[in-house]
């Protein structure tokens, strides 16, 4: 069987949900005729028609608001933000309307907001950001960050079927760079479950999104070069967070490296560190370390961007320090 890219996996997932459930529809900028800035929705207008694949003006706040209204009526809107950087234009609708609607009024909002995140394509400060924490911090939103094609398909389908608002963050560097064989037919991946991507006993790297691949590469090197088996935990979903899986790997290896592409201060690693320091403190044999982007905007120029992004050498250096501790 042919391998399926991360991008194609998301496309398949959406396509199948459009076929399965007549209440699912798409809304966004340039998603119709153009098929989306990254072509995730290519062919959908032709197949499903303008009623179900709706091109909008440039109005992020209204796109999210429209999705909220439609979801209130029981439809299942799946909206695309052209780049995750522009979600900020709809921030108020998301954190104040979407996130709080069920709590305040008991009315479910089954909606999905999809957006391409992350750096590595020289997109500069406005086409490279990782906005997950703005939404992880807001009670009432689910946040999903798939790292593999299998998960991307299974999680987008689970997100569309979920009855709460979901922010679905697709790392644009993975779109065409990773692929794998996918099972035939319908499957979903449960929201809120992390996955151990590599077993190990000497230390754990906890991460998500594109950094999973960096962690795996570093782990392979540490095994080959240092003889150290490193466990890699892919969180997959940031909210709800699989705290048990996090605590389990911490208790197992007693050494924790937290890795994300997002900037450091206020990034998810802080939250993970706090959970472990609170609930598995006695298991720790070493400081909890973080490898993250530094606290700057994402720079455009290649050497600056390379300095900004966490990568295998940075993870190796931190891991070796941690292993030595």
């Amino acid at each position: 069987m042919a391998e399926t890219t991360y991008l194609e996996a998301i496309r398949q997932g959406i396509w199948e949900e459009l076929e399965r459930d007549p209440d699912v529809f798409l809304l966004g900028e340039d998603i119709g005729v153009y098929g989306g800035a990254f072509k995730v929705t290519a062919g959908m207008l032709e197949k499903f028609g303008a009623r179900r694949v709706m091109d909008t003006p440039v109005c992020e706040s209204a796109i999210v608001g429209t999705a909220i209204g439609a979801a209130m009526m029981g439809l299942r809107p799946v909206i695309e933000m052209q780049f995750a950087d522009f979600i900020s234009c709809a921030y108020d609708q998301l954190i104040n309307f979407a996130a709080k609607n069920r709590f305040r009024s008991g009315v479910a909002l089954p909606m999905v907001l999809r957006a391409p995140t992350g750096g590595g394509i020289h997109g500069g400060p406005y086409h490279s950001q990782n906005p997950e924490m703005a939404y992880v911090h807001q009670p009432g939103l689910k946040v999903i960050t798939p790292a593999t094609a299998y998960d991307a398909k299974g999680l987008i389908k689970a997100a569309i079927r979920d009855n709460d608002p979901v922010i679905f963050l697709e790392h644009k560097l993975l779109y065409r760079r990773i692929k794998e064989e996918l099972p035939e037919g319908d499957y979903t991946v449960p929201i809120g479950q992390a996955a151990v991507r590599r077993e190990g006993d000497r230390m754990s790297i906890v991460t998500y999104g594109a950094m999973v691949h960096v962690a795996l590469e570093a782990a392979a090197k540490l095994s080959a070069e240092d003889g150290a088996e490193v466990e890699v935990l892919d969180l997959r979903t940031l909210m709800p967070l699989d705290e048990e899986a996090l605590l389990e790997t911490a208790r197992k290896t007693n050494r924790l490296l937290l890795l994300h592409e997002d900037t450091r201060t206020g990034g998810l690693a802080g939250e993970l560190s706090a959970i472990v320091a609170e609930r598995a403190f006695d298991y720790l044999d070493a400081p909890i370390m973080r490898v993250t982007a530094p606290d700057t905007p994402v720079p455009y120029s290649p050497p600056l961007e390379a300095a900004f992004l966490p990568d295998v050498p940075k993870v190796l250096a931190a891991s070796r320090e941690l292993l030595r501790y």
């Binding site: 529809f25 009623r51 709706m54 909008t56 003006p57 109005c59 706040s61 209204a62 796109i63 999210v64 608001g65 429209t66 999705a67 909220i68 209204g69 439609a70 979801a71 209130m72 009526m73 029981g74 439809l75 809107p77 108020d92 609708q93 104040n96 309307f97 709080k100 609607n101 069920r102 709590f103 305040r104 009024s105 008991g106 009315v107 479910a108 009670p139 009432g140 689910k142 979920d162 009855n163 709460d164 709800p240």
Partner: protein, 338 residues
Amino acid sequence: MGKTVKHVTKKRTTAGPNEREIVEPLLYFMKLQREMEDRIEHKLYRQGKVLGGVYTGRGQEAIGVAPALLAQPGDVLCPCHRDMGAYLVRGMKPPQILAQYMGREDGPTRGRDGNMHMGDMKLGLVSFISALAAIVPVAGGIALAMRYRGQANVVINWHGDGATSRGDWHEGLNLAAVQKLPIVYIINNNQYAYSTPLELQMPVKNVADRAVAYGMPSAIVDGNDALAVRAIAQKAIAYARAGKGPYMIECKTFRMTGHSAHDAAEYVPKKLFAEWAKRDPIVRLEKHALGKRLLTKAEIEAMRARVVAEVDEAVAWADSRPYPDPATLLDGVFEARA
């Protein structure tokens, strides 16, 4: 390149045949809103039983009530903070509303939110949020869902003059107009946004002047004339229901209070209150009903008594109800796991 902005202005003060059947519920719900809000502001708030901000629609009751009475089953209403009348018309009961204001378990938000921040989708009532105009694109989404399902329903979305300065207002109206969604916007232009007078809010004379930017028909109406509001709302609702797209109605009115209960409105020239008091929509409709012998003095008095009794009873009931159990605080952020 000339283009003419035309506002349909309705000043009709008669409702045609069956006028009694039209006037009676109008008057009843306006009175009920007035009594509810008087009680909340002048009694319950001062007694400390209602907390937080208290906003009333005193003097503006026609604007919420008249369009709401025209809504059909399946239509959805998105009222704002001065439109309690719309909730009452749609079937939200005074005891529930008071339980909401008093933070009790039995309010529609079960104590999670306060005042008019409530809804009931079974009644076609949406719970708005504080951020002004955030409801506008949401109303569009509801209208979109109606069209998606092939329902000949409409959304009625109320808000104030101040809300029209916000980005969400523009984005929401533009998208609704591009998509020709079935929405009627009812704007209560009460001449202030909190303390800010119109001339510091907008560079045009009428909010309705802005409808041209959305290729949308609009009308300006005396918002204190319930029958005039009704007449134009009827037209606008028919237009939207026919699939022709959104319609904007600007209701000229005046906020007969401060912005909220704690605001003495010292920034408003006193004479404006005096002037607008003469145009009270309830008094006007009563006069009309008496003058045209649609209702008798006794009937109006009986209506007043009924309203007072209803509110008395509602207050007593709401005040007897428990606060929500703090142990439930974490419930309902997400769907409960099976």
